[in-house]
Assembly symmetry: C2
Homo-oligomer: 167 residues x 2
Amino acid sequence: MSFDAEPPFKPTDPTEMMAPICSVFRRFLKSRGLKYTPERAAILDAIIDRDEVFEVEEILLQMTGSAARVSKATIYRTIILLTEAGIITQALFDSKQSHYRLIYGREPQDQMVCMRTGKLVEFTNEEVIELRNRICKELGWNPIGHRMHIYAHSPEDSEEAPPSTPE
Amino acid sequence: MSFDAEPPFKPTDPTEMMAPICSVFRRFLKSRGLKYTPERAAILDAIIDRDEVFEVEEILLQMTGSAARVSKATIYRTIILLTEAGIITQALFDSKQSHYRLIYGREPQDQMVCMRTGKLVEFTNEEVIELRNRICKELGWNPIGHRMHIYAHSPEDSEEAPPSTPE
DNA sequence: GTCGGTGCAAATGCTTTGCATTGAT
DNA sequence: ATCAATGCAAAGCATTTGCACCGAC
């Protein structure tokens, strides 16, 4: 799955996070009768290292330099598995290509985007979660996760410019 | 632009809405030295008729039956203009293809998606808007719009199924 | 030896673009 | 005549898939 209001642990740095996520992935693969291959491990490592919203091309580039080079097809195939394992999720920023981000062990993250500069600020806000749960409750739904994007102008950018469109 | 917390008018039915939106589009085109052609008018009408989240293929199909047949390329080109005019916006549901929806004269709409069935419920919630504004204020940003997707299980679907991933 | 995994290249499918034609002013 | 709009077909591009080869158990 994708969002988790109560993550099993709250890592503070990538290294600390690495080991548990790998085990989670390993267990997930095992439960499906699949293998934890060096390629899959390397891809997951690259994603954890990057530690931000990413796209496939970026991971490919990042890995090209290192010894652990994998094909684009393998990255795509691994991303599907990582998503099913609940380790990453799609970010849905623009329609041109897919963006993903790490979610395992993370607070759900909301985003604020500057309409002029494209600057992105991520935040976690308890009230968003509460409101989401309340809305679900009123309608009799069972909340799983949410995605909140706020489009705004950041304080630094006060010059006049034609606003762009949120995608 | 795309979201508008205070729309200039609040139409109740598509017909009532039609005329003003057309004028808005006409004025927008004029301001750019572009023409309000029969094709563009027909595409806008089709979108207003449909009155829900749509994709290009659907509009094409819908128009194929009628006398006003246009090419797919023209629809794509018109959609760009309608977006720039602030009449429609991209919906960003899945990464496979683009979805759009009418926003001119509408309350900003939030969405609840059932993770099992894909069922989509749209709603407007004042609290979401207030919360969004409050978050912006705290950070010194100037709110323009937002996008709120809630992923949940709808009450009808209580059978056991592997949860899918929000895209 | 069976099965899954990988890389490569080819295929897919949505979207964009080039171009010749058409239409409005 | 000029300048933009349209339709068609071709091109682009991110993503998926088919297939031959490889490696682990």
